[in-house]
């Protein structure tokens, strides 16, 4: 007991004891932190998206842009009564995620019948292994990622994120130290000037190798289970569209989707970029709720039109949709 007390004595200056205590403290703190509720992103990533409810007929997949930009209940109004739509788009994700999500749903016997895939095109260029491994995947899936030829260090970092609460929530913890809140956006014109556009929106369209690998796996998996994928490109701001023109972003993106349409059961629902005005956005890429309603309405009308021409589906669009179809 006296020896134990001596460890904490001010007379004890043994550096090795300090390192030992530090390691123990880190382990205790991380275990204690892990009992804290996860943040919204982690909660969203960890939600078991296969166990609740019945099998959806239509499932929306994508990132935060699709999550807030397509309203599932509204879209269901354009389909026949027995058709259900679920929005499973997850914020902060990219094209490497749907494979894992669909795989889980198939394993649980809850795979959707059709998928509306609405990615943000810029997400194809960068990978998010830390979020994927640290927040989303289980150990079996991590092993699959590690054995897919991805850099081991990236997987190691992801695993570190998975085991360390602090690392996983570092962005949120950093925010706690920001005393000054960001000022409310001024209603200036233009509200979203090109000068403040983030570099990630001003790049050519490219598909990162890891993303490409798991996205193709997703398409293959969907095809194996006869799940058609309806491709949707979310509306963009004119300034975003303009800044991408020098890189032929849109042409390359269309070529990419066209290739997918030829190889897999990918169908064009709203492949072309459409421009929405500045007042329709809450930032450079996310639609506000009014614009989301307008876009869903547009999408619903188009969907009912597409479905009415689709030989494989026998259904009648509801009157509401027929009235508003272009």
């Amino acid at each position: 007991m006296r020896n134990l007390l001596f460890i904490f004595s001010f007379k004890n200056r043994n550096p090795l004891t300090a390192i030992f205590l530090f390691v123990i403290a880190v382990v205790i703190l991380e275990i204690a932190f892990s009992f804290r509720p996860p943040n919204t992103l982690m909660q969203s990533l960890r939600t078991n998206r296969v166990a609740t409810g019945s099998v959806p007929d239509w499932e929306i997949m994508g990132d935060s842009v699709a999550q807030g930009g397509i309203i599932a209940t509204q879209l269901a109004g354009y389909l026949s009564d027995d058709q259900s739509v679920t929005n499973f788009a997850i914020a902060s994700t990219g094209p490497e995620f749907p494979y894992f999500l669909l795989n889980r749903q198939i394993a649980a016997g809850k795979a959707p019948k059709k998928i509306i895939y609405a990615p943000s095109p810029h997400t194809f260029a960068s990978k998010r292994i830390a979020i994927l491994v640290g927040g989303f995947c289980n150990w079996r899936e991590i092993f699959e990622i590690a054995s897919s030829g991805v850099q081991p260090c990236e997987v190691v970092y992801g695993v570190l994120c998975k085991v360390s609460y602090t690392l996983r929530h570092r962005e949120e913890l950093k925010e706690l130290f920001k005393t000054k809140k960001a000022p409310a956006p001024k209603l200036e014109t233009p509200r979203y000037p090109a000068s403040r556009l983030k570099p990630m929106y001003k790049k050519p369209f490219t598909v990162e190798q890891f993303n490409g690998l798991f996205f193709l796996k997703f398409l293959t998996l969907a095809q194996e289970h006869n799940i058609p994928i309806y491709w949707v490109t979310m509306p963009v701001l004119p300034v975003v569209s303009e800044s991408r023109k020098p890189f032929n972003f849109e042409t390359d993106y269309y070529r990419f989707v066209d290739d997918l349409e030829k190889q897999f059961d990918v169908r064009d629902l709203q492949k072309k970029f459409i421009l929405f005005g500045e007042t329709d956005f809450i930032d450079y890429i996310h639609l506000n709720s009014v614009a989301a309603e307008r876009f869903t309405e547009m999408l619903g009308a188009k969907l009912s039109l597409v479905l009415s021409h689709d030989d494989r589906l026998v259904e009648t669009p509801p009157a509401f949709a027929r009235d508003r179809s272009p």
Partner: protein
């Protein structure tokens, strides 16, 4: 492979565990292979340069030692220096001198077509060239006996912790450590651990966050305000210090875990009271190298007052040029040379306040000198970091316009936020006049220090590994 990446962590752990199980001779061989692999991760093509430099200096060292005639020794040394500096000059300075000559001739109306080659600068060439040169210098001065084992010498030059950015270790001290069996003692382990975690904190929390503040300021070419210039200089002062001393600490820490003892490279430089004191605290391995091999060789202070000033200026200008092929580095060197000369000339006029007679006065005087020297250092960093003379002139003009905007205060607070832990620890070290203060403090304080560093790195560290500034030198 940067020190602040998981790749390096994996690499080092592999080396460390292999090191633990191998006998001494094989430890050295394994370290040599690991060091070459470490370097090859940047650019394997430049391994040839290290190999040539190592081989030439190894045999030249032997040749000098075996030559009895002093004049002949001098000749061999001369050719060896010419070879090493020729290598360095070609890869680092060819483009710079070609461009400068073309500009100079152009000013006189002579338009000469000088071929400029787009040469990639090999990482760490200045460091390992100086490291290798010190070996032949020491043999020439009869301060060192050449080693007979080529691989041991090759390891001294290429030892991965210090290969790309120093500390520029003296050949004597490193050869002794390579040739004698090393032990991984409790002391080595704890000091290594302390240095690594402190170095990572300096690099990832201080330097990389300062870089986010500083880069946009120096990206401008005009329209500076006094506040911006001040923030730019202050931020860069902490960026370069955190970056380079962080690198040195990690280098020393990893070497220490392997049983090696590399020299201290930084000793609280921003607490310097004079230019002379600053250079005793900043990049110590380079400043002592320049002092011992250049300043002393030029005659040092043994050839009269005027020659001393000349030698100081030459040493500092060449020291500035060593940092990079740009006139701003030359001017930075000249600026520090001028400060050293001015201090030397004015030293006798400066009041000497006895600490025992006037304790309060002595403290005030000391802090006044520290503050003044820090101000001079800040201006030096402006010269160092400026992208062009035009930018430097603009910034200097803005500095005296005394226009401080509101954002300066918030940026100052941001700098203080990221640097407060560093300043606190360094102030403590300065008060105790001991760099080991943390490791010698009670266990609870040490633990709190490690926890603070660890969590600050985890939360505030910049994780998209930024390269170390001194790698470009």
């Amino acid at each position: 492979m940067l020190f602040n990446t998981i790749q390096f962590g994996v690499f080092f752990l592999t080396v460390f565990f292999l090191y633990l199980v191998l006998p001494h001779k094989w430890q050295n061989r394994m370290l040599l292979v690991a060091s070459y692999f470490f370097y090859a991760c940047w650019d394997y093509r430049f391994l040839t340069l290290i190999f040539i430099s190592t081989t030439v200096d190894f045999f030249v060292g032997k040749w000098i030692y075996e030559t009895p005639d002093r004049r002949r020794k001098k000749h061999i040394l001369f050719w060896s220096i010419l070879f090493n500096l020729g290598f360095l000059g070609f890869f680092k300075y060819y483009g710079f001198f070609a461009e400068s000559l073309r500009g100079l001739l152009g000013a006189f109306g002579l338009h000469v077509g000088i071929t400029t080659l787009h040469i990639v600068l090999p990482v760490g060439i200045s460091f390992y060239t100086f490291q290798s040169m010190s070996y032949t210098f020491d043999i020439y001065r009869d301060e060192l006996k050449p080693t007979n084992n080529y691989f041991d010498f090759a390891l001294c030059v290429a030892f991965f912790p210090h290969m790309v950015a120093g500390p520029i270790q003296r050949a004597q001290s490193l050869i002794d450590q390579v040739t004698t069996p090393r032990t991984i003692s409790k002391d080595n382990f704890t000091e290594g651990f302390y240095l690594i975690i402190w170095g990572l904190f300096k690099k990832m929390v201080v330097a990389d966050n300062m870089s986010l503040i500083v880069e946009p300021i120096f990206a401008q070419s005009s329209g500076f305000t006094t506040g911006q210039v001040f923030i730019g200089a202050l931020g860069f002062a902490f960026q370069i210090y955190g970056d380079f001393s962080g690198y040195s600490d990690i280098a020393r820490g990893t070497a220490r875990l392997l049983g090696f003892n590399l020299m201290v490279n930084f000793n609280l430089p921003y607490f310097a009271t004079s230019p002379q004191d600053f250079w005793r605290r900043w990049h110590i391995s380079l400043s002592t190298w320049l002092r011992d091999y250049l300043y002393v060789s030029l005659g040092g202070n043994r050839k009269g007052e005027a020659r001393t000033y000349f030698n100081l200026m030459i040493t500092m200008v060449l020291g500035g040029l060593w940092h990079g092929a740009s006139w701003t580095f030359v001017i930075w060197g000249a600026y520090h040379g001028a400060l050293l000369c001015a201090h030397r000339a004015l030293q006798r006029f400066l009041p000497k306040i006895s600490e025992s007679e006037y304790p309060v006065g002595a403290i005030i005087w000391k802090w006044a000198r520290i503050t003044f020297m820090f101000g001079l250092t800040l201006y030096g960093w402006l010269i160092f970091r400026a992208t062009s003379f035009a930018q430097l002139a603009e910034m200097t003009r803005a500095l005296f316009a005394f226009h401080i905007e509101r954002s300066t205060v918030s940026l100052c607070a941001k700098i203080l936020f990221y640097c407060s832990a560093l300043l606190l620890v360094q102030f403590w070290q300065f008060r105790r006049n001991n760099l080991n203060t943390v490791r010698e403090s009670p266990v609870l304080i040490q633990t709190a220090f490690y926890l603070a560093c660890f969590y600050l790195v985890l939360i505030f560290g910049v994780f998209d590994a930024q390269s170390f500034i001194y790698f470009q030198f």
